[in-house]
C-alpha cells in the first residue's frame, strides 16, 4: 500500500526537475501521509454570520409578537372562532372550491383549444384568455352579478336557425352563482396558460411513442402526456389556487358574506379591536395556504416519480433520519 504513493511522488519530482525546460511547472510538495487521511471541508463564514443575524431577527420578531400589547392576543381566539367568521370561512372555501373546479375544467378545454391544430379554436381561446386576463376581476364580478343588464334573455341560437332554447335572465343571478361564475371565468384564463405550458414541457417523443403504439388521443392525454405535464403544472397551479383563495374575497361585490366580508363588518362595528380581528382573518388565510402547500408537496412528489432518480424525503422521513443521526452521535459520545 505505501509503496505506490512513493513511486508516484518520485515520478512527480522527476518531472518537475529543473532539467525539464523553462516551461516546467512548480514542483509538487507532496502532502504528508498524515494529510492524506481526510480533506477538511471549507467553512462558510458568510453563511454562519447570516444565520446568526437571521436567528437574532427571529428572536426579536417572536418576542415582539408575544409581548407587544397592540396585538391584543387575548381577543384573538374569540374572533378566530367567532361563528360569523367561521360561516364566512365556510363560504370562502365553498366559493374557492366551486370556482377552482369550474376554472380547471374550463382551463383544460381552453388549453386543448390553444394546442389544437384548428386555427379558429386556437384564436378563440387566445381571445378569451387575452380578454379575461385583462378585465379587472372586480368589473367581471359586477358584470356577472348584473348579467341581465347586459343580456336580458338567455338563448342558445345559431345563425340562420330558430333559437333552440330561450329564457329570460333572472334580474339578478343568485349571489353565489354570480361570484363562482365570475371567479371561474377569470381563473380559467390563467389556468389555461399554466396547463398549456405544462403540456408543452413534455417531450415530443412521448407523443410520438404513444402514436406509434396506436394509443387513442384520450389515453395519450390522460395516461402519458397529462401525468408528465402535471409535474411542471402543479407548483404554478397551487400558486394560482392560493391567489384564488384570496381573490375570493372580492365576492364582497356580489353581496356574499365571505370571511373577508365578515371580518370587515366586525371591524366597522368594533373599531378598537381592528388588530385582533385582522389577525384572526389573516390567520385563517395562512391556514388555508399552509394546507394547500402541504398538498402541493405530496402531489409534486407523486408526479416526480420517474423524473428524479430518488424522490425527495417527506418532512417525516427527514425528521426520523435526523433523529436516528442524533441517536447514533449520542451513542458515540456516551461510549
Amino acid at each position: 500500500m505505501t509503496a505506490t504513493p512513493d513511486v508516484a511522488l518520485d515520478q512527480s519530482r522527476a518531472l518537475a526537475s529543473p532539467s525539464s525546460g523553462p516551461q516546467a511547472t512548480t514542483a509538487l510538495v507532496a502532502p504528508s501521509e498524515e494529510a492524506l487521511r481526510r480533506v477538511v471541508p471549507r467553512r462558510h463564514w458568510g453563511r454562519w454570520a447570516a444565520s446568526v443575524l437571521v436567528a437574532l431577527l427571529l428572536v426579536s420578531l417572536v418576542t415582539n409578537v408575544a409581548q407587544n400589547p397592540n396585538y391584543q392576543w387575548a381577543q384573538f381566539w374569540g374572533y378566530f372562532t367567532r361563528p360569523v367568521v367561521l360561516r364566512g370561512l365556510l363560504l370562502t372555501l365553498q366559493v374557492t372550491l366551486y370556482a377552482g373546479v369550474l376554472g380547471f375544467v374550463l382551463g383544460v378545454l381552453l388549453a386543448l383549444a390553444r394546442l389544437s391544430g384548428s386555427g379558429l379554436l386556437n384564436a378563440a381561446a387566445w381571445v378569451y384568455i387575452w380578454f379575461f386576463r385583462s378585465l379587472p376581476l372586480t368589473v367581471l364580478l359586477i358584470i356577472t352579478f348584473n348579467v341581465s343588464q347586459f343580456f336580458p334573455t338567455l338563448a342558445l341560437k345559431l345563425p340562420l336557425l330558430p333559437a333552440l332554447f330561450s329564457t329570460d335572465t333572472p334580474l339578478l343571478l343568485p349571489a353565489l352563482a354570480a361570484g363562482v361564475v365570475g371567479l371561474a371565468i377569470n381563473e380559467a384564463a390563467y389556468a389555461a396558460e399554466l396547463i398549456r405550458g405544462g403540456v408543452l414541457s413534455v417531450d415530443q417523443g412521448q407523443v410520438e411513442a404513444a402514436n406509434a403504439l396506436g394509443l387513442s388521443p384520450w389515453r395519450r392525454l390522460t395516461r402519458i402526456v397529462g401525468p408528465q405535464a402535471l409535474r411542471s403544472i402543479v407548483p404554478g397551479y397551487v400558486n394560482q389556487l392560493i391567489g384564488l383563495v384570496k381573490m375570493s374575497s372580492l365576492v364582497y361585490y356580489v353581496g356574499l358574506a365571505d370571511m373577508f366580508t365578515a371580518v370587515y363588518i366586525l371591524e366597522s362595528r368594533t373599531p378598537n379591536d381592528i388588530v385582533p380581528i385582522l389577525l384572526a382573518g389573516s390567520a385563517w388565510y395562512l391556514v388555508i395556504a399552509a394546507v394547500l402547500s402541504v398538498v402541493q408537496f405530496y402531489v409534486e412528489r407523486h408526479y416526480a416519480r420517474g423524473a428524479v432518480r430518488t424522490l425527495p424525503p417527506t418532512p417525516w422521513q427527514r425528521l426520523r433520519r435526523r433523529l436516528t443521526g442524533l441517536r447514533v452521535r449520542l451513542a458515540e459520545v456516551t461510549r
Binding site: G205, N211, A212, S216, R223, Q228, R305, G306
Partner: protein, 264 residues
C-alpha cells in the same frame, strides 16, 4: 372506376410493399419515388447518409409520416390510406391506430414513458388496447422484459436505466402487441459505444426468431452479420439494394462506395 382495387393491393407474399413512395417537406423532396418489397421473416438494413430520406421512409411504414403519393402495404393491407373510386384517401384515425398495432416502432431516443416503470411501459400498449387484463398484462410484460434480459429491472424507471437498457425496454414494449413487422430507427445511435452490443444482440435474437425487421442503421458490421437485404438510399431514391455480400462488400455504385468508405 377504371383502376381496380387490385391494382393497389399488394402481393400477399410481401411483408412490406412500398410503391412509388414520394414525400416532400416544404418543397424539398425527401422521398423521390421508392419501390421496395420485403419478404416475411426478412431482415432489411437501410443505409444512407443523413438527409437521404431513410428515416422518413421508415416512419412512413407506420404512417407517422404520411406519403404525398404512392403507397405502403403491410401484410397485404394498405397503411394509412384506402382506395375509393380510384384514389387513395387517408383513413380515419381509429383505423390508423389499429394498423399501428401491427407494426412495432423503436425510436433512436427510446421515448420510454418517463413516469412509468419498465414493466408499466411494456404493459401500457396491452392495457390501452384492452388486449389483456391488468394482472395478465403485467405477467406478459415481465415475460417480454425477460426476453430482453431485463426481468430484474422491471420496477426501475427509465431514468434509472442505462441507455442500452432503456432501448431494450423500448424493444420489449414494441413487441408487446405482437407486431408483424418491427421498425428500428437508428436504434443504437444515441448509445455509448460500449452499450451498442447489448441492443444489437437483442435485435439479432429477434432476427433469428424469424421476425420481419426493418432497421435504419449505421452499424455496417451488424448489417453484414444480420441483414439478408441491404438497401442504400441517397437523395430520396434507392441507389442500390441486395444481399450484404454485394451491397456492402462489393458495391456496384460509386455513391455507395463513397458512403461506405466514410462510415467504415
Amino acid at each position: 372506376m377504371s383502376t381496380p382495387a387490385a391494382a393497389y393491393a399488394a402481393p400477399t407474399s410481401a411483408a412490406v410493399e412500398i410503391r412509388h413512395a414520394r414525400k416532400s417537406f416544404s418543397g424539398h423532396q425527401v422521398l423521390a419515388g421508392i419501390d421496395l418489397s420485403l419478404a416475411p421473416g426478412s431482415v432489411t438494413v437501410i443505409l444512407g447518409p443523413s438527409g437521404s430520406g431513410k428515416s422518413t421512409l421508415l416512419r412512413a411504414i407506420n404512417h407517422l409520416e404520411p406519403l404525398d403519393s404512392g403507397y405502403i402495404a403491410v401484410g397485404g393491407e394498405l397503411i394509412g390510406v384506402e382506395e375509393r373510386r380510384g384514389r387513395l384517401h387517408e383513413l380515419a384515425p381509429r383505423a390508423i391506430r389499429r394498423q399501428r398495432t401491427r407494426i412495432g416502432f423503436v425510436a433512436q431516443s427510446f421515448n420510454l414513458f418517463g413516469h412509468l416503470s419498465a414493466l408499466d411501459n411494456v404493459a401500457e400498449p396491452l392495457l390501452a388496447h384492452r388486449r389483456q387484463a391488468r394482472q395478465q398484462a403485467r405477467a406478459t410484460a415481465l415475460e417480454l422484459l425477460g426476453r430482453v434480459g431485463l426481468a430484474d429491472r422491471a420496477d426501475a424507471y427509465p431514468r434509472q436505466l442505462s441507455g442500452g437498457q432503456q432501448q431494450r425496454v423500448a424493444i420489449a414494449r414494441a413487441l408487446a402487441l405482437e407486431p408483424e413487422v418491427l421498425l428500428f430507427d437508428e436504434p443504437t445511435s444515441a448509445l455509448d459505444p460500449e452499450l451498442v452490443g447489448e441492443v444489437l444482440a437483442v435485435i439479432k435474437q429477434l432476427a433469428e426468431d424469424g421476425a420481419t425487421l426493418v432497421i435504419v442503421s449505421h452499424e455496417i458490421g451488424f448489417a453484414r452479420e444480420v441483414a439478408d437485404h441491404v438497401v442504400f438510399i441517397d437523395g430520396g431514391v434507392i441507389v442500390e439494394q441486395g444481399p450484404p455480400s454485394i451491397v456492402i462488400d462489393a458495391p456496384q455504385h460509386a455513391r455507395t462506395c463513397e458512403f461506405l468508405g466514410k462510415v467504415r
